[in-house]
Amino acid sequence: MRYAMAIDTKKCVGCSDCVVACQTENNVPIGYCRDWIVEVTDGTYPQLEIEIRSERCNHCENAPCVRCCPTGASHYEDGGTVLVTHHKCIGCGACIASCPYDARYSHPDGYVDKCTFCLDNRVKKGEDPACVSVCPTKCMYFGDLDDPNSDVSRVLKMRKWKTLIPEAGTKPHVYYLI
């Protein structure tokens, strides 16, 4: 099983609902976030294009944050997700510095936190991650890459996509439909 997310940049309106929904679902403290929105505008008026991306931890297959963690707090979990065991984390910040996507933050309680793909609180119960389930434009897809019939697999087959900073060699599991 390989969990993955695909986000349609053509439909995302950048509303940030995914950000608040994650905060309320996962008790992310105010002032922090596990996901965020990037808006890229390219061109000169009136020849313009916007790409909007809802970004979060990419649950990299080759995750530098796992590699550099001195305690094993950052580790791989079911379905290739990358998680942090809070009570093993010493808060050294190495993983934060190692993530090319700046996907991690230091929780005010000291440990490092980031997107979990809502693994324990939702996905294992058969629900979509909070951000996916709330998105008003339904532009996010979540599922198992190994299952050819999952939403993600299907949409990745049908559409052109990209991942972020492939040069970093992290093999992200969050895909952007373009």
Binding site: V38, R67, C69, I90, A94, I96, C99, Y101, R104
Partner: protein, 313 residues
């Protein structure tokens, strides 16, 4: 015009507007680690070479400061941890892929050795020292008998420690400025240079000072070479690395880097040392202090500038 912005107010002070997770503690820790590594390296080296008496300061005196600076370094590291009470988790596992981990373990080896080293040489400083207990004396004798083995271990681990101070950064290819294999050798060289400078500073023996100054000169030459090499590497690389190099080539770090690290920390002391070797008289502490200052600044500047270099946005 290309405009790339985060619109959802990601206001995490540790990552926005750029990474800001490591402050003074980490560069200080790395500097002290490098300095201790430098001193212990020379102590071990001359012991192995049997030159303890020629390099009395290097072998017997300078190492006395290493336990202190290592401990201060560790305190700085601890200070920086955000989840301090879980500190011990560092020593429940060894993770070879994690520089933090093997750095912690290296310190676990080097710090006790530095204590042992001091213990073996304590009589140099306190001639009347007495270990009081017989078993301590036996342990001391044991170490003394195996001083060569200890020296070898120390030599190797001080090199590892010296390299580690650079690898800690260069392991992070997420930060384009750090993403260069030159940081390891550069930081090692910088540590050795600082170590040599410390010895020069502490030594009252003209011969030893001259020898260490010569070594320092060579190391400084190597450092300059590495720095030039590093920038050439960046400029020949991807846009993000060119951007990273530009932090030093016209960007906000240009003055501090070229002035403090390169001019004051390398070129200037090198000139002073050359002049001194040629027989000019001047206070001998200026050059080594500048070298150590340069070494400290190098860590600070690389730590801070590295956090400002990024892939996205």
């Amino acid at each position: 015009m290309k405009e790339e912005i985060i619109t959802s107010g990601r206001m995490n002070p540790y990552i926005d507007p750029h990474l800001n997770i490591w402050h003074w503690q980490i560069p200080l820790y790395l500097f002290l680690g490098g300095l201790a590594a430098g001193i212990l390296f020379f102590a071990a080296l001359y012991t192995i070479q049997g030159k303890q008496d020629k390099y009395r300061t290097a072998v017997k005196i300078a190492p006395f400061i290493t336990p202190f600076i290592l401990i201060i370094g560790l305190i700085a590291l601890f200070w920086d941890l955000k989840h301090k009470l879980y500190f011990w988790q560092l020593y429940t596992t060894i993770r070879f892929e994690s520089p933090m981990s093997w750095g912690a373990w290296t310190l676990m080896v080097v710090t006790p050795l530095s204590f042992i080293w001091c213990a073996l040489n304590i009589k140099v400083i306190f001639p009347d020292w007495d270990w009081k207990f017989q078993w301590v004396k036996e342990v001391e004798a044991f170490f003394r008998r195996n001083i060569l083995v200890i020296s070898w271990i120390l030599l190797i681990f001080s090199l590892i420690l010296g390299v580690y101070t650079g690898i800690l950064f260069s392991a992070f290819n997420a930060r384009p400025l750090w993403n260069t294999s030159i940081l390891g050798p550069l930081f090692l060289a910088s540590g050795l240079s600082a170590g040599a400078a410390a010895i020069v500073l502490l030594s009252k023996d003209h011969f030893e000072r001259v020898q260490m100054a010569k070594i320092d000169l060579i190391i400084i030459a190597v450092e300059l070479f590495l720095i030039i090499h590093m920038f050439m590497g960046f400029l020949a690389s991807t846009q993000v690395q060119i951007d990273a190099a530009n932090l030093f080539l016209g960007g906000p770090y240009t003055t501090p880097f070229w002035l403090f690290v390169v001019m004051l920390g390398m070129v200037f002391p090198a000139i002073l040392e050359i002049l001194e070797l040629r027989g000019y008289k001047m206070p001998h502490y200026i050059a080594p202090i500048l070298v150590m200052f340069g070494s400290l600044m190098l860590r600070f500047i690389i730590a801070y500038a590295g956090q400002e270099s990024r892939w996205l946005y």
